[in-house]
Structures are given as structure tokens and as C-alpha cells.
Symmetry: D2
Subunit: 245 residues, 4 copies
């Protein structure tokens, strides 16, 4: 059965900066879409901020199993009703993968319940990803560690809830560490945060970064449950006779 | 060193229902305050919905180590700016204890990032609390289990994040179970949800219920950290020389 | 790709008790094997205590992706070298599913690091399984809850480590609760404990019990990692130049 | 109420190596004991490998609230009956703090249920400890990070169960990371692993290292529970009338 993936991108840097456009000519979303389309069981579409309803109509979300999110400088322009729609879909089972600066996106912050703040530096750090849970499906096919020659640094303390599973920890040449692959359950849905992907580096062209994202899509795909009742507005009848008083 | 506790209560049922007033003549908050004032290291004050700023001015919150919250039918009347203030204080270290129907309070839902919905029945169930983490400080002084002769039922699925520590599971005579004592870290603060306390039952007069709440206050009190920097608006300087490219 | 499942059964009760033999004429392992063979992607074999090396030679374990374990009255007869072999295989990636009284089996206790003790009663309790993590793959296809008309009771406190994911909580008519579906990571392997299955009840004929076990097999199947080095006997060379002193 | 601390040390390196003796003339245990005796609520004693019963008689353990363990080259000389005694005491509530190379000590491995292996290098790395859970009591009084100028490197993958709380992550100048402050519940007891402390460096003289260990002692001290029954050899009577069949 196919997994329906929607890749959402702010898509502003690529249109305003020649340097970014040189790395992602059709946008980060298209680079990721191309990579994920190579997976035979994925059906991939994209959506961007400047489309009507940011490309995330109720119909699109209803047809989405896993939503990937990249945003950076226009978090505030994302309309609250669309955010609410995304969050509700996650609670109902949709997977959500937040990439890099999406740590400050509205849906991610709503789903975490924390400030999601972190230490950062846009310089020329080397980043090394260490696998700290090799049994986890998101580590599938990876070596002990892999590295990116240059990336923006994100450092602890990262203001997120303790992850339900921690898959990667990043080492940075400038002296910091970061919990860079974090999993959480949220209602019937799953959330994964994956750190790398500053727009000025070719991170999303890296085959292991692509593999992590593909692994995360499979992990985050909805778990279908049967007859699972979430209509909690009405009182429940007792299943057993109650004690008499 | 004293722990400064603020007990917040919606305080509406007690003033509109004779049955509730018979159980809590001065309000749920005063019953809890009396119990907690018996702890020599606690300094206790109260605040209620109908006070200015709901009794939760910036000054009061600044002077609060642990905030206990009971609300039920007027969640929507709690002003959003006060909610935001509470949430920010939790992220900065204040403990937050949500009691019973506060599972649907605005600050709790904001801190969880989930729908916080549950199954419920106001009937005459017996509730039995089983300790499932006897090493946890919130279990201090408790037996294997204790029970309340009558309580409202709350049943699974409870739409909260997986707790960082689960201390109690409730058994209900009508056939349900519930994760009724849940701990989470949120930033520099700690959150505890404790299930019992429907306003029509004398739950908060029960000595073990009072003991759990006192234990939770001690657990949730802030952890003072020194020189802990959360000014994340400015980039960080590298601690080590960066690689040359 | 197929998942190679080995079902291990003590296989003593079925041969010494007519009542148990009436329920499981070929043994619990054969009832489970039949159910799992209905999954097109599973390749299933069985092994029992009284076979040479308990049916768990190094070759069999090497060819096993997920090992299911049922034992009860002969835990002590399982040879320590076979236990060690099983544990090492789990650390190297093999899934391990402990059923019911296997909470006291040697491999499970070794993998947990705790006493694994619990409260129990062989009576005629009704057991009701509540799903408390509907996003987890082991909950796939299940309703809010399902029940077994009669089962042995297992109650808290269950002396196991806090599960990395808790999928089910059981309600018992006699008044107890139990964390009855627990997941843990152990090295590169995964462990699931599933509570039901006393030999005098037809539990393993129940379609939802079978479904949970099939779900657990898929979840516990090894995550293949590439070039993952666990040769930790020799010191590692630094990846970066070390500071000079 | 006082916390009774026993510091156990292998105490071999200090007697066979002049370099180590220069750093810890009375042994690592005495350096730690001196530091912890500065805490007014701690009562501190020491025990070493070459004492009868390794200094850990049943009486000593019965009088110990928290046991700190340092061992390295003589893990195998620790007698199995003493190991069993320690493990049983942890399950009954005693705290256990494993330091540095105690990751491979018999009691720690028994309590974890994993191989506890790791990557390592004895060189001249700088180690930097980042606080990743500032709400946790073990982080009390610490800054965002602190560092040791020279230490042995321990790197991931560290073969331990996912911690119930992760307090520190270490950065090493040679390019590795490590989960260097890990908490687990084990039965009624608590376990903390703290990474630093190679015998050839003056690590345990560092005031923040001492503070972490003091914080960990307070966190790991037993939680007294009342009438908590762990006699699980006999069947339990039902608390409620069972269903008739």
C-alpha cells in the first residue's frame, strides 16, 4: 500500500537568493520530492506557502499520510486555521516530519508544547550524526555515523519535550552537541524532528540525509486502528455493573 | 528553603451548587490549601477565576514555585494572556500540577500539544490507584494501591503525550483503566497530571490524595540552574576553532 | 522480504494435563505457528524445551529474525549457555517476544535487569485490554479495547523497567490493572512483552490476540544497519585533530 | 534525614601506578568521600575490592541508601554473590551510581540487561558536558555546559537501554558524542550512570563533577513507600467479586 507524502516548503529563500537557488533551483521541496519519488511505495506531492491555503486544503491533508515541513523566515505568515488543520490531522494519525528551522514553525511548536528554542550559529561547522538507537527503524541502513562537511550549528539546550525515542545526536566542530533525530507520539500520529538542512548548504542532496527522511516517512505513516472511538463528548456507559451504595 | 505554592481554582461549582458547597464550603482551593499548609516547608496562597487577572498577575507567578490548577466548566473564560504567562513560567522552571478536569484547561493543553481528550462517566464508580513506579518520589509513603469509594470515571485513550514517568494507573469498577498520575518535563519546568477530584465527591479530603499532591509539589519544584542561558536570539560564537575550507 | 519467526514453547503442560491438551492438542507453539503462517511474509518454525539444545542451536538462532517465547514451570531447565546465546542474538538485532509466564523466563529476566515479579491469581477473571498508544504499530487494526472472558490475573507492581513504549493496559474484574503490552529497545534488538496466555484458557485462539502477536513480530523484526561497528575491544582513532597541551 | 552513602572503589590503579597515586593518593574513593562529606545531610563510608566481601557485607548494604561504584581492571574479581546482593538491594530501593569504567562492572551490566559496550580512546581529548534536561534534579546548580580539559573518550553507540531521563551529552574534541548522564528506574531503586573519571586525570577533584555526584546521590536516595507488598509467591485474593460463568 502506498504512503502518500506531502512536502511543504516555505519556498522564499530559493526565489530571493541566487546562492540558494543555485543549490535548489526548483526549491527544497522539489529536491526532496525527487529523492522520495525514487521509493516505489511513496506517492509524493508538494505544497508551498504562497499557494492558496498554503497548498494545504482540507482535501490535501485528508489525502496525506505524512507531511514534511520546511520553513524559516516566514513562519508568521502561515495562517492559524491551516496550522490548526495540520495539528488536528496529526492527532488523527498523520505523520509530521519537521526539518531544520521548522523547529520554530507554528505546527511543530503547537505539537510540542514547549518553546523549541535552541542555540545556533551560521558558520562553517562540520556536523557528524551519531546513531544512538540502531534498533530504531529510522536508523535503517545507516553506518555508525555520517557527516556533513558544512552546516549551520544548532546546539543544546533544545527546548523540546524529552523524545519518546532519540535516534541521532549531532557533534559540531565548534564544540556543541544536539539531539538531531527525535521521535514523539502525538495522539494517533507520530512526529519526527530532523535537524539538518540550512538553505545555503546542499544538505538535502546528500544520500544519507535522503535515506533518513525516507526511513522517517515509513516510521511516521499512520497506524490504522479499527473502530477506535474518539467521540468523547458524550458520557460512556459502564461496561460492568457498578457497585451499589 | 520554602516552596511557594499557588492553588488556582475556577471556584464556580462551589458557589452555584449546594451539593458541592456542602463538600467544599470555602472552595476546593481552600481544602487543598489547608492540607498543604500542614507541610512545614510549603508557603501556600490561592487564586481564583473571578479575581482580577484571575489572581495570576505577573508578580504572583514570579513568586510561585508550583502552580496547582483546578478548572472545569469555565475553561474558556481564562484569558489567553494569562494562559501565555503561565506557560512561559513553566518553561522557565515553575512546576504545574493539573488536577482532574484541568486536563481540558488551556494551560495544560498548551503544555501537552495534544487534544487531551478522554472517555468519561459521572456515575458511582469505585476508583483504585495502583502504584506502577514505586521508585518515583511522587509515590512516597503510599501503599501498593489505595482507593476512592466513588469518583467520576476517566478512561483511556487519554490523548496526552507518553509520560516521561507514569506513577499511577487507575482501575474503575465500570471496566476502564486510566493513566492517572503522569509526569512530563517541559523546558526547565515540570508538569504532573493527577486524575481524581470531581467536585461532587469529597476526594480532596482524602489523606492519600493530599499526600500525592504534596509529593507532587516537592517533585515539581524548580531545579535551580546557574548561568543557564536561554537567550537564543543571537548567534553563538564557536567554542573551538572551526575547520578551514 | 520474509520475516523468519521461531516460536519456542516449554511444551510440558500440554503433555501432562488433559485439560491443557484439549485446548492446545499440538501445543501452544503449533496454535501460534498456524496463526502466524497465515501471514504471507512470515516464515515460521518452532522449537521446544526437550529438543537438543532446546531446539535453539546457533544455526537456528542465526536464521531467526524474531523469537517468541512461552515457558512456565520449567524455566530452570533452560540451559544457561542457550540463554546467553539468545540474549546475545537480541543485542545483535533479533526481536524477542515474551508471552505471559515468560516474564519469569531466564532470557527475559536477563534482558530486563529487574526481578520481573508481579501479583497473580489463577481464578476466573475477565481481562480487558485497553489501547493506550494507538499510534504504535503493535496497535494496528485494533479497536479501543478488546477482552478475554477468562484469564489468569497478573497485577501491578510489575517489576520491569519503564517501557520505552506502553501499548496496552489490562483491566481485571477482580480489581487489578497491568501494563500488558510493553516495548523495550535492547542494543540493536527489540523486546515485546505481551501478558495473556495462561495454558488453561483458549487465549491463543483469539483472533485479536493473534493479531497483536503478528503486529509485534513486524515491529520487532531487525532493523538492518550498514557498517555498524560494535568491535569495541580496540581503541578508536580520533576523527579530528586533538587539542595540544 | 541523612542519606547514607557507600563509595566502592576497586582501588588497584592507585596502588600500582605512581601516576595515578599522585592524583588520588588515598584512592578515588577517598577523594570522593571528602567531597561528599562536605554535604551536611550525607553520611559517607567507603569499601574496596580487597576487603573481606569487598567491604559489602549484607549489613553494610542494608545500611546504605546510595552505593557509588568505580571499577576498571578487576571487574571479574568481584564475587557473584556480592553482585547479586547489590542488585537485590537496588531492586529493593537502594540507589546505584556507576562511574566511568563501571559501565562494564558486573552490577551495572546485570541492572541494564545489555552489553554496555562503547567506543573508547585514551588520549588527550577535551570533554564538554551539555545539560539536555535542565529541569532534572541532577542538573541542579549547573551552567549550560562545563568542561574537562583532558579525559578519556567514550563514544556512541553506548549499549545501554534508552535512559528514562537523559541529563548530559558529552562532546569530545576527537569528534564523538556520548550520553554521559543517564537515569533509570529499576524496581524500587534508581540507577545513574555518569561518564567521566579515568584514573589518570584529576576529574574527581573538579567541583562541578563533585556537584553532579552529590546531586545524583540526592536523586537516587530511596523513596520510602508504606506497606508496599512484593511477596509475590502466593496468589492474590480478588478485591472485587469475580464474574460468574
Amino acid at each position: 500500500m502506498s504512503i502518500r507524502v506531502t512536502i511543504w516548503n516555505e519556498y522564499r529563500h530559493e526565489r530571493s537568493s541566487a546562492a540558494v537557488a543555485a543549490i535548489y533551483p526548483q526549491g527544497i521541496h522539489e529536491t526532496l520530492a525527487q529523492a522520495l519519488r525514487a521509493q516505489p511505495d511513496f506517492v509524493v506531492r508538494t505544497a508551498t506557502l504562497d499557494e492558496p491555503e498554503h497548498g494545504l486544503s482540507a482535501e490535501v491533508l485528508q489525502d496525506t499520510d505524512v507531511l514534511i515541513w520546511w520553513g524559516h523566515k516566514a513562519h508568521d505568515e502561515v495562517q492559524d486555521d491551516v496550522v490548526e488543520r495540520v495539528v488536528q490531522r496529526v492527532w488523527a494519525g498523520m505523520g509530521f516530519i519537521a526539518l531544520h528551522s521548522a523547529h520554530f514553525s507554528k505546527p511543530f511548536k503547537r505539537l510540542m508544547g514547549t518553546d523549541c528554542a535552541l542555540r545556533w550559529r551560521e558558520a562553517s561547522d562540520k556536523e557528524r550524526f551519531w546513531v544512538v538507537n540502531p534498533a530504531h527503524p529510522i536508523a535503517q541502513g545507516l553506518p555508525d555515523f555520517f557527516e556533513l562537511e558544512r552546516e549551520e550549528m544548532y546546539g543544546e539546550f533544545f527546548g523540546v519535550p524529552q523524545p519518546d525515542a532519540l535516534v541521532f545526536i549531532s557533534w559540531f566542530s565548534g564544540g556543541e552537541v544536539f539531539r538531531s533525530g527525535c521521535c514523539w507520539y502525538r495522539g494517533m500520529g507520530k512526529v519526527f524532528y530532523f535537524r539538518p538542512g540550512h538553505e545555503t548548504y546542499p544538505t538535502y542532496h546528500h544520500p544519507l540525509v535522503q535515506q533518513v527522511i525516507a526511513n522517517a516517512v515509513r516510521w511516521a505513516a499512520p497506524t490504522p486502528v479499527a473502530n477506535f472511538t474518539r467521540d468523547v463528548r458524550r458520557p460512556s456507559a459502564p461496561l460492568e455493573p457498578l457497585p451499589q451504595h
